[in-house]
Amino acid sequence: MRGEGLTADSSYVRSLGLFIGVHRRLSAVSFLLLLMFAGGPAPAAEPQRPQPLKSGGEFSSSELRALQADDFGNPGMLWVVRGEKLWGEAAGRNGKSCAACHGDARQSMKGIATHYPKVDPGAARLVNLEGRVNLCRERHQGAEPLQYESEELLGLTAYVAHQSRGMPVDVTIDLQNRKNYERGRDFYYARRGQMNLSCSHCHDRNWGGRLLGETISQGHGNAYPIYRLEWQTAGSLHRRFRSCLFGVRAELLPGGSRELLDLELYLAWRAGGLTIETPGVRR
């Protein structure tokens, strides 16, 4: 798929060359102008958050918002309940549960999700909640890591993120995560796939507009894991990324991959100040 991206680029360059050949008398100034407009969104300047920031729920129907607000009707709560059960269950060689170290998640996990993804000093890499759960399993429980997108991992991450519901996303970019942030930002602004679109084309330039029957959101990750009606199940932010990648016919990167983690960090910075809604309900 990367190769296809290159082919598209080179044919683009060829057609530009043809264009120059035909219009040799074009002045240098107009040619420069042409390049500026043909080049797509330029990430040169520090990117801006969309103004005003709007959570994905604001682009949903009132019925869907009501469903999310109803703590019993919200189907995502089934995963939160599942996570709550898993929290107290012992796992792995050490026979420890999450609660054995962290106690009552309603206290200990309050506000935790607002600061993720985060660089783990021991592993020296960026981890999101999913990665954190698996690091804990490895280090303290002596258990096998849970598979990305598995029901168990979705349950635990939904349960942990749910404890921060109503609190603002608050990720700071510092020396430790600067590189990840920059890679994530570049990923966000890079054209990809056969449709040759970047994230920014939809979620910065055209939010509030229509894509067939859908209203394009600003693309924030503050309600994840979400229950998505199209999936008929709960899913992680990385699953949603893959849906977008599929939409622009780009390479489907695996959940938990470095590229998607960096993108998650950039989006967390971009959503700074929006409140966490986990579990969100979306179409």
Binding site: F72, M77, L78, T233
Partner: protein, 106 residues
Amino acid sequence: MVARVQVPQQVKRGELIEVRIAIQHVMETGFRYDDRGRAIPKNVINTLVARYNDTEIFRAELGSGIAANPFLQFYTVAEASGEIEFSWVDDAGEKGTEHAAISVVG
């Protein structure tokens, strides 16, 4: 299988109460195919029964037209303190139960 049942915790005798249940279940329709083109067998919760102190008060037969993670809601009259117990079974033979306590005053 995770399920949640919601009833008001304390009610007056003779009061109309709302009973709700949500069950985590794929409700596989039987009309879908996997990546290799093989039919995914139908697996839906086919029967769901609610008992109020061992008296059946609600029964539903569900089919492939019901979305995943079904959510049902009905009304009953609070007559005595006790339990409302749900039990259900799916096409794969897996059974589930969930209950909620209710306390009736007056």
